[in-house]
Protein backbone atom coordinates (compact mmCIF):
# COMPACT_ATOMS: atom_id res chain seq x y z
CA UNK A 1 0.00 0.00 0.00
CA UNK A 2 2.82 2.37 0.89
CA UNK A 3 4.63 1.50 -2.32
CA UNK A 4 1.54 2.15 -4.31
CA UNK A 5 1.00 5.46 -2.58
CA UNK A 6 4.58 6.42 -3.31
CA UNK A 7 4.27 5.33 -6.92
CA UNK A 8 1.08 7.30 -7.41
CA UNK A 9 2.65 10.33 -5.72
CA UNK A 10 5.68 10.04 -7.96
CA UNK A 11 3.41 9.75 -10.96
CA UNK A 12 1.53 12.88 -9.94
CA UNK A 13 4.73 14.83 -9.34
CA UNK A 14 6.14 13.72 -12.68
CA UNK A 15 2.95 14.75 -14.40
CA UNK A 16 3.07 18.10 -12.64
CA UNK A 17 6.70 18.64 -13.61
CA UNK A 18 5.97 17.79 -17.23
CA UNK A 19 2.97 20.04 -17.18
CA UNK A 20 4.94 22.97 -15.84
CA UNK A 21 8.29 22.38 -17.55
CA UNK A 22 7.54 20.81 -20.93
CA UNK A 23 4.03 21.60 -22.00
CA UNK A 24 4.21 25.39 -21.75
CA UNK A 25 6.39 25.07 -24.85
CA UNK A 26 4.14 22.53 -26.55
CA UNK A 27 0.71 24.09 -26.40
CA UNK A 28 -2.35 23.37 -28.45
CA UNK A 29 -4.11 26.56 -29.53
CA UNK A 30 -2.21 28.22 -26.69
CA UNK A 31 -3.40 25.85 -23.96
CA UNK A 32 -1.61 23.14 -21.98
CA UNK A 33 -3.01 19.70 -21.28
CA UNK A 34 -4.16 18.75 -17.78
CA UNK A 35 -1.95 15.76 -17.15
CA UNK A 36 -2.89 15.49 -13.50
CA UNK A 37 -6.55 15.26 -14.37
CA UNK A 38 -5.68 12.55 -16.88
CA UNK A 39 -3.89 10.59 -14.15
CA UNK A 40 -6.85 11.02 -11.82
CA UNK A 41 -9.29 9.81 -14.49
CA UNK A 42 -7.05 6.88 -15.35
CA UNK A 43 -6.78 5.85 -11.70
CA UNK A 44 -10.53 6.26 -11.19
CA UNK A 45 -11.23 4.15 -14.26
CA UNK A 46 -8.82 1.49 -13.05
CA UNK A 47 -9.48 1.43 -9.31
CA UNK A 48 -12.86 3.02 -8.74
CA UNK A 49 -14.41 6.05 -7.07
CA UNK A 50 -12.58 5.78 -3.76
CA UNK A 51 -9.16 5.80 -5.38
CA UNK A 52 -10.36 8.44 -7.85
CA UNK A 53 -11.44 10.78 -5.07
CA UNK A 54 -8.22 10.23 -3.08
CA UNK A 55 -5.86 10.70 -6.00
CA UNK A 56 -8.01 13.61 -7.17
CA UNK A 57 -7.66 15.31 -3.80
CA UNK A 58 -3.89 14.80 -3.81
CA UNK A 59 -3.53 16.03 -7.36
CA UNK A 60 -5.69 19.04 -6.59
CA UNK A 61 -3.61 19.91 -3.57
CA UNK A 62 -0.43 19.69 -5.63
CA UNK A 63 -1.83 21.97 -8.27
CA UNK A 64 -3.14 24.42 -5.74
CA UNK A 65 0.14 24.61 -3.91
CA UNK A 66 2.56 24.55 -6.79
CA UNK A 67 0.85 25.85 -9.90
CA UNK A 68 -2.21 27.86 -9.22
CA UNK A 69 -2.50 31.26 -7.60
CA UNK A 70 -6.17 30.68 -6.90
CA UNK A 71 -7.25 29.88 -3.35
CA UNK A 72 -6.06 26.47 -2.18
CA UNK A 73 -8.85 23.95 -2.43
CA UNK A 74 -10.42 24.81 -5.74
CA UNK A 75 -8.47 22.22 -7.72
CA UNK A 76 -9.13 19.71 -4.97
CA UNK A 77 -12.87 20.20 -5.43
CA UNK A 78 -12.65 19.77 -9.19
CA UNK A 79 -10.24 16.83 -9.33
CA UNK A 80 -11.73 14.89 -6.42
CA UNK A 81 -15.27 15.36 -7.74
CA UNK A 82 -14.34 14.20 -11.22
CA UNK A 83 -12.30 11.27 -9.90
CA UNK A 84 -15.20 10.18 -7.73
CA UNK A 85 -17.81 10.56 -10.47
CA UNK A 86 -15.74 8.70 -13.05
CA UNK A 87 -15.06 5.97 -10.51
CA UNK A 88 -18.75 5.68 -9.81
CA UNK A 89 -19.60 5.58 -13.49
CA UNK A 90 -16.91 3.00 -14.23
CA UNK A 91 -19.22 -0.06 -14.21
CA UNK A 92 -21.37 1.62 -16.85
CA UNK A 93 -18.51 2.57 -19.12
CA UNK A 94 -17.01 0.28 -21.74
CA UNK A 95 -13.50 0.84 -20.47
CA UNK A 96 -12.06 -1.88 -22.72
CA UNK A 97 -13.16 -0.12 -25.87
CA UNK A 98 -10.96 2.42 -27.59
CA UNK A 99 -13.38 5.25 -28.04
CA UNK A 100 -15.01 5.38 -24.59
CA UNK A 101 -11.83 6.27 -22.64
CA UNK A 102 -10.92 8.80 -25.29
CA UNK A 103 -14.32 10.43 -25.15
CA UNK A 104 -14.08 10.33 -21.38
CA UNK A 105 -10.70 12.04 -21.51
CA UNK A 106 -12.17 14.75 -23.73
CA UNK A 107 -15.26 15.22 -21.58
CA UNK A 108 -13.41 15.31 -18.28
CA UNK A 109 -10.71 17.59 -19.67
CA UNK A 110 -13.32 20.03 -20.94
CA UNK A 111 -15.47 19.77 -17.81
CA UNK A 112 -12.55 20.04 -15.42
CA UNK A 113 -11.12 23.08 -17.17
CA UNK A 114 -14.49 24.79 -17.43
CA UNK A 115 -15.32 23.97 -13.82
CA UNK A 116 -12.00 25.21 -12.53
CA UNK A 117 -12.32 28.35 -14.62
CA UNK A 118 -15.78 29.01 -13.30
CA UNK A 119 -14.71 28.48 -9.71
CA UNK A 120 -11.72 30.77 -10.02
CA UNK A 121 -13.79 33.45 -11.67
CA UNK A 122 -16.32 33.17 -8.86
CA UNK A 123 -13.97 32.93 -5.92
CA UNK A 124 -10.70 34.41 -7.06
CA UNK A 125 -10.04 37.77 -8.56
CA UNK A 126 -9.57 36.38 -12.04
CA UNK A 127 -12.25 37.55 -14.42
CA UNK A 128 -12.79 34.98 -17.16
CA UNK A 129 -14.82 35.45 -20.30
CA UNK A 130 -17.15 32.79 -21.63
CA UNK A 131 -15.26 32.67 -24.90
CA UNK A 132 -11.98 32.03 -23.11
CA UNK A 133 -13.60 29.35 -20.98
CA UNK A 134 -15.02 27.56 -24.00
CA UNK A 135 -11.77 27.77 -25.95
CA UNK A 136 -9.74 26.57 -22.99
CA UNK A 137 -12.16 23.75 -22.22
CA UNK A 138 -12.22 22.49 -25.81
CA UNK A 139 -8.47 22.79 -26.27
CA UNK A 140 -7.61 21.03 -23.02
CA UNK A 141 -10.22 18.37 -23.78
CA UNK A 142 -8.66 17.77 -27.17
CA UNK A 143 -5.11 17.76 -25.81
CA UNK A 144 -6.09 15.33 -23.04
CA UNK A 145 -7.73 13.09 -25.63
CA UNK A 146 -4.48 12.95 -27.56
CA UNK A 147 -2.47 12.10 -24.44
CA UNK A 148 -5.05 9.77 -22.91
CA UNK A 149 -3.75 6.50 -24.42
CA UNK A 150 -0.31 7.14 -22.95
CA UNK A 151 -1.68 8.11 -19.52
CA UNK A 152 -4.01 5.11 -19.42
CA UNK A 153 -1.18 2.80 -20.40
CA UNK A 154 1.20 4.13 -17.72
CA UNK A 155 -1.43 4.09 -14.98
CA UNK A 156 -2.66 0.66 -16.05
CA UNK A 157 0.85 -0.78 -15.90
CA UNK A 158 1.64 0.79 -12.52
CA UNK A 159 -1.71 -0.20 -11.07
CA UNK A 160 -1.12 -3.73 -12.29
CA UNK A 161 2.24 -3.82 -10.60
CA UNK A 162 1.13 -2.10 -7.41
CA UNK A 163 -2.50 -3.18 -7.06
CA UNK A 164 -4.79 -1.38 -4.70
CA UNK A 165 -5.50 -3.58 -1.66
CA UNK A 166 -9.19 -4.43 -1.57
CA UNK A 167 -9.86 -2.65 -4.83
CA UNK A 168 -13.32 -3.40 -6.15
CA UNK A 169 -13.65 -5.63 -9.15
CA UNK A 170 -14.53 -4.02 -12.46
CA UNK A 171 -17.37 -6.41 -13.03
Amino acid sequence: MIARTLVVALLLVTALVLQTALFPAVTLFGFRPDLLLLIVIAVALHDGSMAGARVGAAAGLLVDLLVSQAPVGLSIVVYASLGHVIGLARPYLATDSVTAPLLLAFATGALGTAGYGLLTSLLADEPTTTGLLVRAALSVGLYNTLLAPLAYAVVGRLAGRFPLTGAPSRE
Partner: protein
Protein backbone atom coordinates in the same frame (compact mmCIF):
# COMPACT_ATOMS: atom_id res chain seq x y z
CA UNK B 1 -22.09 -1.07 -1.70
CA UNK B 2 -19.87 -0.52 1.29
CA UNK B 3 -17.14 0.75 -0.96
CA UNK B 4 -19.48 3.20 -2.58
CA UNK B 5 -20.62 4.50 0.75
CA UNK B 6 -17.04 4.91 1.88
CA UNK B 7 -16.23 6.66 -1.31
CA UNK B 8 -19.14 8.99 -0.89
CA UNK B 9 -18.12 9.78 2.68
CA UNK B 10 -14.57 10.33 1.51
CA UNK B 11 -15.74 12.69 -1.19
CA UNK B 12 -17.82 14.65 1.27
CA UNK B 13 -14.85 14.88 3.60
CA UNK B 14 -12.56 15.94 0.80
CA UNK B 15 -14.99 18.56 -0.44
CA UNK B 16 -15.55 19.93 3.03
CA UNK B 17 -11.80 20.05 3.61
CA UNK B 18 -11.36 21.81 0.31
CA UNK B 19 -13.98 24.37 1.22
CA UNK B 20 -12.28 24.94 4.54
CA UNK B 21 -8.97 25.38 2.74
CA UNK B 22 -10.53 27.78 0.27
CA UNK B 23 -12.03 29.77 3.11
CA UNK B 24 -8.78 29.81 5.05
CA UNK B 25 -6.79 30.83 2.03
CA UNK B 26 -9.36 33.41 1.06
CA UNK B 27 -9.41 34.95 4.51
CA UNK B 28 -5.67 34.69 5.03
CA UNK B 29 -5.09 37.09 2.11
CA UNK B 30 -1.63 35.84 1.26
CA UNK B 31 -0.48 35.80 4.85
CA UNK B 32 -2.22 32.76 6.28
CA UNK B 33 -0.82 29.34 7.05
CA UNK B 34 -1.66 28.06 3.58
CA UNK B 35 0.52 30.69 2.04
CA UNK B 36 3.42 29.41 4.12
CA UNK B 37 2.64 25.88 2.98
CA UNK B 38 2.60 27.07 -0.60
CA UNK B 39 5.98 28.73 -0.15
CA UNK B 40 7.47 25.59 1.36
CA UNK B 41 6.09 23.43 -1.42
CA UNK B 42 7.38 25.83 -4.02
CA UNK B 43 10.83 26.05 -2.49
CA UNK B 44 11.06 22.24 -2.35
CA UNK B 45 9.72 21.75 -5.77
CA UNK B 46 11.45 24.65 -7.54
CA UNK B 47 14.88 22.97 -7.97
CA UNK B 48 13.21 19.92 -9.44
CA UNK B 49 11.19 22.09 -11.76
CA UNK B 50 14.27 24.07 -12.78
CA UNK B 51 16.28 20.94 -13.46
CA UNK B 52 13.55 19.36 -15.50
CA UNK B 53 12.97 22.59 -17.34
CA UNK B 54 16.64 22.75 -18.31
CA UNK B 55 16.57 19.10 -19.33
CA UNK B 56 13.43 19.46 -21.36
CA UNK B 57 14.20 22.83 -22.85
CA UNK B 58 15.58 21.26 -26.06
CA UNK B 59 12.27 19.45 -26.42
CA UNK B 60 10.53 22.75 -25.96
CA UNK B 61 12.87 24.32 -28.49
CA UNK B 62 12.04 21.59 -30.98
CA UNK B 63 8.38 22.23 -30.40
CA UNK B 64 9.03 25.92 -30.89
CA UNK B 65 10.89 25.21 -34.13
CA UNK B 66 8.06 23.02 -35.35
CA UNK B 67 5.58 25.73 -34.54
CA UNK B 68 7.84 28.27 -36.20
CA UNK B 69 8.02 26.05 -39.26
CA UNK B 70 4.27 26.03 -39.56
CA UNK B 71 4.19 29.77 -39.01
CA UNK B 72 6.84 30.26 -41.68
CA UNK B 73 4.91 28.05 -44.05
CA UNK B 74 1.79 30.04 -43.44
CA UNK B 75 3.73 33.25 -43.91
CA UNK B 76 5.29 31.85 -47.06
CA UNK B 77 1.86 30.99 -48.42
CA UNK B 78 0.64 34.46 -47.58
CA UNK B 79 3.65 36.03 -49.27
CA UNK B 80 3.16 33.90 -52.35
CA UNK B 81 -0.43 35.01 -52.56
CA UNK B 82 0.75 38.58 -52.15
CA UNK B 83 3.32 38.14 -54.92
CA UNK B 84 0.63 36.71 -57.18
CA UNK B 85 -1.60 39.61 -56.39
CA UNK B 86 1.19 42.07 -57.16
CA UNK B 87 2.00 40.23 -60.38
CA UNK B 88 -1.61 40.54 -61.43
CA UNK B 89 -1.55 44.19 -60.52
CA UNK B 90 1.62 44.66 -62.55
CA UNK B 91 -0.05 42.99 -65.52
CA UNK B 92 -3.00 45.30 -65.24
CA UNK B 93 -0.57 48.22 -64.97
CA UNK B 94 1.05 47.05 -68.19
CA UNK B 95 -2.36 46.88 -69.78
CA UNK B 96 -3.10 50.40 -68.56
CA UNK B 97 0.24 51.62 -69.92
CA UNK B 98 -0.50 50.01 -73.26
CA UNK B 99 -3.94 51.57 -73.34
CA UNK B 100 -2.41 54.90 -72.35
CA UNK B 101 0.02 54.66 -75.27
CA UNK B 102 -2.81 53.83 -77.64
CA UNK B 103 -4.84 56.78 -76.40
CA UNK B 104 -1.83 59.08 -76.73
CA UNK B 105 -1.37 57.92 -80.32
CA UNK B 106 -5.04 58.51 -80.92
CA UNK B 107 -4.82 62.00 -79.47
CA UNK B 108 -1.78 62.71 -81.57
CA UNK B 109 -3.59 61.50 -84.65
CA UNK B 110 -6.58 63.62 -83.78
CA UNK B 111 -4.42 66.73 -83.48
CA UNK B 112 -2.63 65.87 -86.70
CA UNK B 113 -5.81 65.46 -88.74
CA UNK B 114 -7.30 68.65 -87.29
CA UNK B 115 -10.71 67.20 -87.94
CA UNK B 116 -13.75 66.92 -85.79
CA UNK B 117 -13.76 63.47 -84.34
CA UNK B 118 -15.80 61.17 -82.15
CA UNK B 119 -13.91 58.73 -79.97
CA UNK B 120 -15.30 55.25 -79.72
CA UNK B 121 -14.38 51.90 -78.41
CA UNK B 122 -14.60 48.53 -80.08
CA UNK B 123 -17.34 46.49 -78.51
CA UNK B 124 -17.62 43.58 -80.93
CA UNK B 125 -15.87 41.93 -83.83
CA UNK B 126 -17.54 40.47 -86.87
CA UNK B 127 -19.10 37.11 -86.14
CA UNK B 128 -18.27 35.80 -89.61
CA UNK B 129 -14.93 34.56 -90.88
CA UNK B 130 -15.56 36.27 -94.20
CA UNK B 131 -16.48 39.67 -92.96
CA UNK B 132 -13.96 42.08 -91.45
CA UNK B 133 -16.01 44.53 -89.46
CA UNK B 134 -16.12 45.85 -85.94
CA UNK B 135 -18.89 47.41 -83.89
CA UNK B 136 -18.09 50.56 -81.97
CA UNK B 137 -19.96 52.09 -79.08
CA UNK B 138 -20.79 55.41 -80.72
CA UNK B 139 -23.63 55.96 -83.16
CA UNK B 140 -25.96 58.50 -84.64
CA UNK B 141 -26.61 59.98 -81.19
CA UNK B 142 -22.96 60.94 -81.14
CA UNK B 143 -23.04 62.39 -84.63
CA UNK B 144 -21.70 59.35 -86.42
CA UNK B 145 -23.01 58.78 -89.92
CA UNK B 146 -22.50 56.30 -92.72
CA UNK B 147 -19.27 56.45 -94.74
CA UNK B 148 -17.45 58.39 -92.09
CA UNK B 149 -13.78 57.37 -91.94
CA UNK B 150 -12.52 55.59 -88.87
CA UNK B 151 -8.92 55.78 -87.70
CA UNK B 152 -6.88 54.87 -84.68
CA UNK B 153 -3.48 55.93 -83.39
CA UNK B 154 -1.71 53.98 -86.11
CA UNK B 155 -3.73 55.02 -89.10
CA UNK B 156 -6.66 54.04 -91.27
CA UNK B 157 -9.09 51.56 -89.74
CA UNK B 158 -12.03 51.64 -92.12
CA UNK B 159 -15.30 53.41 -92.68
CA UNK B 160 -18.72 53.36 -91.09
CA UNK B 161 -21.20 51.22 -93.00
CA UNK B 162 -24.10 50.97 -90.57
CA UNK B 163 -25.30 53.30 -87.85
CA UNK B 164 -27.71 52.89 -84.98
CA UNK B 165 -28.37 55.47 -82.28
CA UNK B 166 -25.85 53.97 -79.88
CA UNK B 167 -23.49 51.98 -82.08
CA UNK B 168 -21.97 51.80 -85.51
CA UNK B 169 -20.49 49.06 -87.61
CA UNK B 170 -17.19 49.75 -89.29
CA UNK B 171 -15.98 48.02 -92.40
CA UNK B 172 -12.30 47.41 -91.81
CA UNK B 173 -9.77 48.43 -94.39
CA UNK B 174 -8.71 44.82 -94.84
CA UNK B 175 -12.19 43.70 -95.85
CA UNK B 176 -12.33 42.76 -99.55
CA UNK B 177 -15.24 45.15 -99.97
CA UNK B 178 -13.15 48.07 -98.78
CA UNK B 179 -11.59 50.45 -101.22
CA UNK B 180 -10.11 53.91 -100.84
CA UNK B 181 -8.06 56.34 -102.82
CA UNK B 182 -4.44 56.35 -101.75
CA UNK B 183 -1.11 57.75 -102.73
CA UNK B 184 2.52 57.28 -101.94
CA UNK B 185 3.60 59.73 -99.27
CA UNK B 186 6.85 60.80 -100.93
CA UNK B 187 6.09 60.85 -104.66
CA UNK B 188 2.32 61.31 -104.57
CA UNK B 189 1.65 58.49 -107.03
CA UNK B 190 -2.06 57.81 -106.96
CA UNK B 191 -3.77 54.48 -106.66
CA UNK B 192 -6.51 52.61 -104.99
CA UNK B 193 -6.01 50.67 -101.78
CA UNK B 194 -8.18 47.60 -101.36
CA UNK B 195 -8.64 45.05 -98.61
CA UNK B 196 -7.88 41.42 -99.23
CA UNK B 197 -9.16 39.89 -96.06
CA UNK B 198 -5.94 40.30 -94.17
CA UNK B 199 -2.37 41.43 -94.41
CA UNK B 200 -1.16 42.63 -96.96
CA UNK B 201 -3.56 45.07 -98.57
CA UNK B 202 -3.48 45.70 -102.27
CA UNK B 203 -2.52 49.05 -103.76
CA UNK B 204 -3.35 49.35 -107.44
CA UNK B 205 -1.21 52.10 -108.89
CA UNK B 206 -2.88 53.99 -111.70
CA UNK B 207 0.40 54.78 -113.33
CA UNK B 208 1.98 51.45 -114.24
CA UNK B 209 5.34 53.12 -114.74
CA UNK B 210 5.33 54.83 -111.37
CA UNK B 211 8.38 54.23 -109.22
CA UNK B 212 7.45 52.75 -105.87
CA UNK B 213 10.02 51.71 -103.31
CA UNK B 214 9.63 48.98 -100.76
CA UNK B 215 9.07 50.54 -97.35
CA UNK B 216 7.48 53.64 -98.76
CA UNK B 217 4.57 54.97 -96.78
CA UNK B 218 1.10 54.94 -98.25
CA UNK B 219 -1.48 57.47 -97.15
CA UNK B 220 -5.05 58.17 -98.12
CA UNK B 221 -5.86 60.58 -100.86
CA UNK B 222 -8.92 62.75 -101.29
CA UNK B 223 -8.78 61.86 -104.97
CA UNK B 224 -11.99 60.35 -106.38
CA UNK B 225 -14.23 62.62 -104.43
CA UNK B 226 -12.88 60.94 -101.37
CA UNK B 227 -14.61 59.63 -98.42
CA UNK B 228 -11.28 59.90 -96.67
CA UNK B 229 -9.35 63.03 -95.94
CA UNK B 230 -5.91 63.10 -97.45
CA UNK B 231 -2.90 62.03 -95.47
CA UNK B 232 -4.17 59.32 -93.17
CA UNK B 233 -1.42 56.70 -92.86
CA UNK B 234 -2.41 53.37 -94.35
CA UNK B 235 0.72 51.27 -94.36
CA UNK B 236 4.08 50.66 -95.97
CA UNK B 237 4.94 49.05 -99.26
CA UNK B 238 5.95 45.48 -98.71
CA UNK B 239 6.32 44.25 -102.25
CA UNK B 240 6.07 45.91 -105.63
CA UNK B 241 4.55 43.91 -108.46
CA UNK B 242 5.97 43.89 -111.98
CA UNK B 243 4.58 46.59 -114.21
CA UNK B 244 2.81 44.56 -116.89
CA UNK B 245 0.48 45.46 -119.66
CA UNK B 246 -2.46 45.83 -117.31
CA UNK B 247 -4.26 49.00 -116.44
CA UNK B 248 -2.66 49.26 -113.04
CA UNK B 249 0.32 48.08 -111.10
CA UNK B 250 -0.22 45.97 -108.01
CA UNK B 251 1.66 46.74 -104.81
CA UNK B 252 1.41 44.84 -101.52
CA UNK B 253 0.97 47.12 -98.55
CA UNK B 254 1.43 46.15 -94.90
CA UNK B 255 -1.12 48.12 -92.91
CA UNK B 256 0.01 50.16 -89.94
CA UNK B 257 -3.05 49.20 -87.97
CA UNK B 258 -3.11 45.90 -86.13
CA UNK B 259 -6.64 44.86 -86.96
CA UNK B 260 -6.60 42.11 -84.39
CA UNK B 261 -6.10 44.54 -81.54
CA UNK B 262 -8.50 47.33 -82.22
CA UNK B 263 -9.69 49.09 -79.13
CA UNK B 264 -10.02 52.86 -79.16
CA UNK B 265 -10.86 54.45 -82.50
CA UNK B 266 -11.77 57.86 -83.82
CA UNK B 267 -14.61 58.52 -86.24
CA UNK B 268 -13.87 61.51 -88.42
CA UNK B 269 -16.96 63.62 -88.55
CA UNK B 270 -15.64 66.31 -90.89
CA UNK B 271 -16.25 65.96 -94.58
CA UNK B 272 -13.41 64.63 -96.64
CA UNK B 273 -12.85 67.75 -98.65
CA UNK B 274 -13.83 70.86 -96.85
CA UNK B 275 -15.26 73.70 -98.79
CA UNK B 276 -12.52 76.13 -99.57
CA UNK B 277 -12.95 79.78 -98.70
CA UNK B 278 -13.49 82.09 -101.70
CA UNK B 279 -10.47 83.78 -103.15
CA UNK B 280 -9.97 87.39 -102.31
CA UNK B 281 -11.64 89.79 -104.70
CA UNK B 282 -14.03 87.21 -106.15
CA UNK B 283 -17.01 88.08 -104.01
CA UNK B 284 -18.78 89.79 -106.92
CA UNK B 285 -18.30 86.96 -109.39
CA UNK B 286 -21.01 84.47 -110.13
CA UNK B 287 -19.36 81.19 -109.28
CA UNK B 288 -21.10 77.91 -109.99
CA UNK B 289 -20.25 74.56 -108.56
CA UNK B 290 -20.80 71.17 -110.12
CA UNK B 291 -24.21 69.81 -109.31
CA UNK B 292 -25.59 73.31 -108.98
CA UNK B 293 -28.95 74.34 -110.36
CA UNK B 294 -29.24 72.92 -113.91
CA UNK B 295 -30.83 76.09 -115.10
CA UNK B 296 -27.52 77.77 -114.73
CA UNK B 297 -25.70 75.10 -116.70
CA UNK B 298 -25.29 77.21 -119.82
CA UNK B 299 -23.26 79.69 -117.91
CA UNK B 300 -21.01 77.17 -116.34
CA UNK B 301 -20.40 75.32 -119.58
CA UNK B 302 -18.15 78.09 -120.71
CA UNK B 303 -15.89 77.49 -117.77
CA UNK B 304 -15.98 73.76 -117.77
CA UNK B 305 -14.71 73.24 -121.26
CA UNK B 306 -16.24 71.72 -124.34
CA UNK B 307 -19.85 70.75 -124.36
CA UNK B 308 -21.46 68.25 -126.67
CA UNK B 309 -21.61 70.71 -129.50
CA UNK B 310 -17.91 71.15 -129.44
CA UNK B 311 -17.10 67.54 -130.12
CA UNK B 312 -17.24 67.60 -133.88
CA UNK B 313 -15.79 70.99 -134.34
CA UNK B 314 -12.36 70.38 -133.11
CA UNK B 315 -10.74 72.54 -130.57
CA UNK B 316 -11.93 76.07 -130.49
CA UNK B 317 -10.11 78.84 -128.76
CA UNK B 318 -11.46 77.92 -125.44
CA UNK B 319 -10.45 74.36 -125.90
CA UNK B 320 -6.86 75.00 -126.65
CA UNK B 321 -5.85 74.12 -123.22
CA UNK B 322 -7.68 70.85 -123.44
CA UNK B 323 -6.13 70.08 -126.71
CA UNK B 324 -2.74 70.19 -125.17
CA UNK B 325 -3.83 67.64 -122.69
CA UNK B 326 -4.57 65.12 -125.37
CA UNK B 327 -2.71 62.42 -123.47
CA UNK B 328 -4.88 63.01 -120.50
CA UNK B 329 -7.94 62.35 -122.49
CA UNK B 330 -6.55 58.97 -123.30
CA UNK B 331 -6.41 57.67 -119.75
CA UNK B 332 -9.22 59.85 -118.66
CA UNK B 333 -8.14 59.26 -115.06
CA UNK B 334 -5.32 61.67 -114.70
CA UNK B 335 -5.13 62.55 -111.06
CA UNK B 336 -4.81 66.16 -111.94
CA UNK B 337 -8.18 65.89 -113.53
CA UNK B 338 -9.70 64.11 -110.68
CA UNK B 339 -8.43 65.72 -107.61
CA UNK B 340 -9.46 69.27 -108.23
CA UNK B 341 -12.85 68.17 -109.47
CA UNK B 342 -14.58 69.58 -106.56
CA UNK B 343 -12.78 72.83 -106.95
CA UNK B 344 -13.04 73.18 -110.72
CA UNK B 345 -16.12 75.27 -110.61
CA UNK B 346 -14.66 77.53 -108.01
CA UNK B 347 -11.89 78.83 -110.20
CA UNK B 348 -12.62 82.29 -111.33
Amino acid sequence: MFQRRRARILLVVVLLSALVLVTLDFRGEREGPLEGLREVATSVFRPVQDGVTILLSPVGDVADRVRELFAIRAENRELRERVEELEQRRSSMRDLARENDALRDLLEMRERTELETVAGRTVALAPSNFEWTITIDVGSDDGVDRDMPVIDGDGLVGRVIQVTPGAARVLLAIDPNFSAAARTATTGEIGSIDGRGGDPMLLSMLDTDATVEVGEEIVTSSFDGGVFPAGIPVGTVREVGEGDAGLSREVDVSPFVDFTRLDHVLVLRSTAVDELPPFEGTEGLDVRRPGADPDDGAETDEDDGPDEDDEGDGPDEDDEGDGEDADDEGDGEDPDDGEPDGNAGEEP
